[in-house]
């Protein structure tokens, strides 16, 4: 069974239809891409997946569990983590603290543990800190642990956000334009990072503008245009799909 399944999903804002009849499935262990011109509804789709918006039609399930009506936080518990197109880091906290917040769900200390600084709390904290350092190393930014997130270079912030999302050990990682604003060599590193994430067992679903990157990285791709799914397939199929070519080239931008 697939990890993420969408079937006939639609979303309207008033009279405007932002998404309609979107159906696709993401298999466990995949690197899956969503592309489409600006305003195609890609970010809206992510927002439906994390319950920032409610979808009006269709169904979405994660690991076989329907997410209709679930809160953002409950969906996070199902193993969905994400990054944001415009970074949303905890700017006035250290990089380490950012990642440790990401570990919230895998820690079990209660309010009373927190209040009384019990042995459990202390052990968990030490463990959480160790893991956070490890994650920072994994995404390739060790050395910035104590710096405030907002003072880090842009590329580093992008990686930090990925580290924070990974900290919850998600089954499904949603990356919202992870390559935006990166230079070619950073993009190159990003590709290997995403592969490493997948190899470590996390399924990746990403939105991206950079065609080269998507074609190079993703195993399957969905194309959205004006809120509708116009194609789905392997990179090669997408590249040759007439409606995709029309959407990207035919419309006089």
């Amino acid at each position: 069974m697939s990890l993420l399944a969408l079937s006939g999903v639609g979303k309207r804002f008033g009279a405007l239809s932002a998404l309609s009849n979107v159906s696709f499935e993401v298999e466990e262990g995949a690197i899956f891409g969503i592309i489409g011109p600006n305003g195609a509804g890609k970010s809206t789709l992510f927002n439906l997946l994390t319950a920032i918006y409610r979808f009006d039609e269709g169904s979405i399930s994660v690991g076989g569990v329907s997410i209709a009506g679930l809160s953002t936080q409950r969906i996070a518990r199902l193993g969905v983590a994400r990054t944001f197109q415009n970074l949303r880091l905890f700017g006035n906290a250290s990089a380490l603290a950012n990642v440790m917040v990401g570990e919230h769900l895998i820690l079990g200390s209660t309010i009373f543990d927190s209040l009384l600084n019990t042995g459990k709390e202390r052990r968990e904290r030490a463990e959480a800190e160790r893991r956070a350092r490890e994650l920072l190393r994994f995404v390739g930014i060790s050395g910035v642990e104590e710096q405030f997130a907002r003072n880090l270079p842009y590329g580093t912030q992008r990686r930090l956000e990925i580290a924070r999302a990974l900290a919850a050990r998600p089954r499904l990682l949603l990356l919202d334009e992870p390559a935006a604003g990166l230079n070619p060599s950073e993009k190159h590193e990003l590709i290997s990072l995403i592969r490493a994430i997948r190899d470590a067992g996390t399924t990746v679903l990403l939105i991206e503008h950079d065609m080269g990157l998507v074609m190079n990285l993703c195993e399957r791709i969905v194309v959205l245009d004006y809120g509708e799914m116009i194609a789905e397939g392997a990179p090669q199929e997408i590249r040759e799909h007439p409606r995709v070519i029309e959407a990207y080239l035919g419309a006089p931008a």
């Binding site: 953002t72 983590a81 917040v101 904290r125």
Partner: protein
Amino acid sequence: MIYTYALVAIAACVAIERFHNRRAKTTIVLVLAVFLAVAPRFYGNDAVFSVLADAAVYVMLALGLNIVVGFAGLLDLGYAAFFAIGAYTYGMLASPQFGLHLPFWVLLFLAAALAALFGALLGAPTLRLHGDYLAIVTLGFGEIVPQIFQNLTKYTGGPNGIAALDVPTFFGHSFGASVMPYYYIALFGIAAALWLSRNLRESRLGRAWMAIREDELAAKHAGIDILRSKLAAFAIGASFSGIGGVLFAAKLALVSPDLFGFQVSVLIVSMLVLGGMGNIVGVVVGSLLLTIVNSALLPQINSLVDATFHTTVDLSNLHFLIYGAILVGIMLFRPEGLLPNRERRAELHHAGEAAADA
């Protein structure tokens, strides 16, 4: 003499902020604790320790509010309501009012629990609100609570309040009229409040609060239960205030509704802002300073000025003005407070850069 003690405490706090060596910090804390515990035997009188005990209660309140405002970022302008709930718990249950004379020590915990309960009750429906809206709802709550105490004359003594409250005992020994037991209890209370505050800040819950304060949406995506975390902040913060209320009422042996008005809430918020929101040591400094200004400097300012400059001026008309000027002055020239926490300093620094860019 009050000033000596206050200055020693403040100097110690500043030193703790300046040193980064853990050993040095611990030493200063220990020396300060021993000094505050032992010095009263040699230096000072009832009047001094009465003011210091009151100041210590306010430090506890400020530390409690700091959890709500400083840690979780929820602006609460009605914090005095929980102070009132704590004080009235003692007033109604340890007095001739209902003939109940429950022990002080039991009521400390009961008041903490009741205040926490009301904190959660207020919090539950209002926590969906953001920023200033939340501030206004809490302000409304802060206005309502004392008025209810004032209007339910049958139970609360109405505007007269309840006087002649029980004098606490300690293993059968009455506190009598001495203020020293309150001083020591309040010191112990501060120590406990500091310990709890530090625990919380470094904990899983503390990190959740930081996340909510910084970016609620991102916090949600990390799986943090926003409502529960906020409720925890409200309840824990309120419980500090409840305990402070019992101490306050027992020491004064009186509760009346006019003691818990908006001024008190503003006073405590001002303490946080003055000291440096979110920074535990800063909060202590801010609350010490304002209490000393309010309860020692301003009431005696005439005598002090006259004695120093050999004048006979009348400054009593200016108390409000002086207090207001202190608030405005601090905000204009040091809006991050006297001892800001690391985060706040960074925020301001960043704001400065943004301003320079613009």
